[in-house]
């Protein structure tokens, strides 16, 4: 894709009651970037991701998407959490179709394509409730990609994935470089070995470390 999207986070702050969760976060990213965010529990990683998704309002600072405030109606954000965020009583296929229709972008071929990518095509008629936790996480990846996202946020995406699942996720990272900005928070940076990525270390609501790893 020729046109690159730009995400600018400037002096982002988040206050909850008297607790300052994010004190002063600034960074930038453009299409093609993979940002890996690490930090101890309570460093504000998930809060940061939820603000970027538009799910949580910020208390101060700026989050700009191509120069404009990023909000919930952005519409092209893929969000993968450590929870699968799926409907247990609907089938694999119905889940994806529902989200596809909500985004209004893609049809049946895309559903098939994504299910084949995450290796769930043969399970498409099963209820989500009967799938294992690892399979649900794979489906969650497919669900996030249904948005045809330009910004993908991963919150501990390797949780409960098996070796195959991890390999699929690494493929996703590579495949989406040309059209999205990707941010991943993780406890286990070793899973990113062999990928080119930028690194952001968070602690106590501040950026304490910046780095770059080239494969």
């Amino acid at each position: 894709m020729a046109v690159k999207d730009v995400l600018v986070v400037k002096e982002l702050q988040k206050q909850l009651g008297h607790k300052q969760i994010l004190k002063n976060i600034s960074f930038q990213a453009v299409t093609g970037d993979l940002l890996v965010i690490t930090g101890p529990n309570g460093a504000g990683k998930t809060t940061l991701l939820r603000i970027l998704a538009g799910l949580l309002p910020k208390s101060g600072g700026e989050v700009l998407w191509n120069g404009a405030e990023l909000a919930l109606d952005h519409g092209r954000v893929g969000y993968i959490s450590h929870q699968p965020m799926l409907y247990a009583n609907l089938t694999v296929q119905e889940n994806l179709r529902f989200f596809g229709e909500m985004y209004g972008t893609m049809g049946a071929e895309r559903v098939q394509e994504l299910l084949e990518l995450v290796g769930l095509w043969l399970y498409r008629l099963e209820m989500v409730s009967v799938l294992s936790r690892g399979m649900q996480q794979r489906l969650a990846i497919a669900r996030a990609l249904m948005a045809d996202p330009t910004l993908i946020l991963y919150d501990e995406p390797f949780t409960s994935l098996d070796a195959d699942g991890r390999e699929i996720l690494r493929q996703v990272f590579e495949q989406h470089r040309d059209r999205s900005i990707q941010l991943a928070i993780t406890h286990e940076p070793q899973h990113f070995a062999g990928l080119t990525y930028r690194h952001l270390g968070l602690d106590g609501g501040r950026v304490v470390e910046r780095g770059y790893t080239h494969a």
């Binding site: 919930l72 969000y79 409907y87």
Partner: protein, 226 residues
């Protein structure tokens, strides 16, 4: 705007599909409502006041209790494994969720009433000679509309407080007072066939319904903010 309503409709359909796939909750609510109607009519029959006079009161008290169970479902199904976040991202507007859940709650409530209301009619032995059926149905519909709207709004509040399920009826009751008043009087007027005298209450119901259907546009962003 058409995009708005398209998304509302999609979520509505998804919820209906979800609800009818595991009917245990719907069925237990229905059984609960039926039992309420039975217990009320039976108790009133014992003290020999089982006449059309008490029908409106019993009807709305039964619907109110049944609604407490039925309306708690609307947001609960989004809570299971964090689906609410995914849904919010996909809808891009929190009010879309309100209207989808409101329509869902209204549908479920009306479906339950289709069984419970005729049952009560039979149990209490209402003499329907003078009754104005259309006015009666209108009152039931507008009453259910308001119940569904307020219930959805407040369910959005209580669903975020795990372990505080009991708060739902407590929050619901004082807000519903004007609705209960209007609905009961309209029902009574419809039964005795004097709709002219109570038509003003129909307007009250309409105003109440409109108010609590539009108010969430302003408030719902704050409800689902977390």
């Amino acid at each position: 705007m058409p995009k708005f309503w398209r998304k509302v409709f999609l979520i509505y359909l998804k919820d209906l599909k979800d609800e009818f796939r595991t009917t245990d909750h719907l069925l237990s609510t229905l059984v609960f409502g039926t039992m309420l109607v039975f217990v009320f009519s039976f108790a009133l029959q014992l003290v020999e006041i089982g006449t059309a006079q008490v029908f409106p009161a019993v009807l709305w008290v039964s619907i109110f209790f049944m609604a407490i169970l039925a309306l708690q479902r609307s947001f609960a199904k989004e809570q299971d494994n964090g689906a609410l976040d995914a849904l919010l991202l996909a809808s891009g507007d929190r009010s879309i969720l309100f209207y989808a859940k409101f329509l869902f709650s209204l549908t479920v409530l009306l479906l339950l009433e289709v069984v419970v209301v005729p049952l009560l009619w039979i149990f209490i032995d209402v003499a329907g000679a003078k009754a104005n059926l259309w006015f009666f149905l209108g009152a039931v519909f507008l009453g259910s509309w308001g119940l569904a709207a307020v219930g959805t709004l407040l369910n959005g509040i209580t669903v975020q407080l795990p372990g505080a399920r009991l708060l739902f009826p407590i929050l619901l009751f004082p807000i519903l007072i004007p609705l209960l008043l209007g609905a009961i009087l309209c029902t009574q007027g419809a039964l005795v066939g004097e709709i002219k005298a109570v038509s003003g209450w129909m307007y009250l119901l309409v105003i109440y319904d409109l108010l609590f259907t539009i108010l969430p546009l302003l408030l719902f962003d704050y409800v689902l903010e977390g």
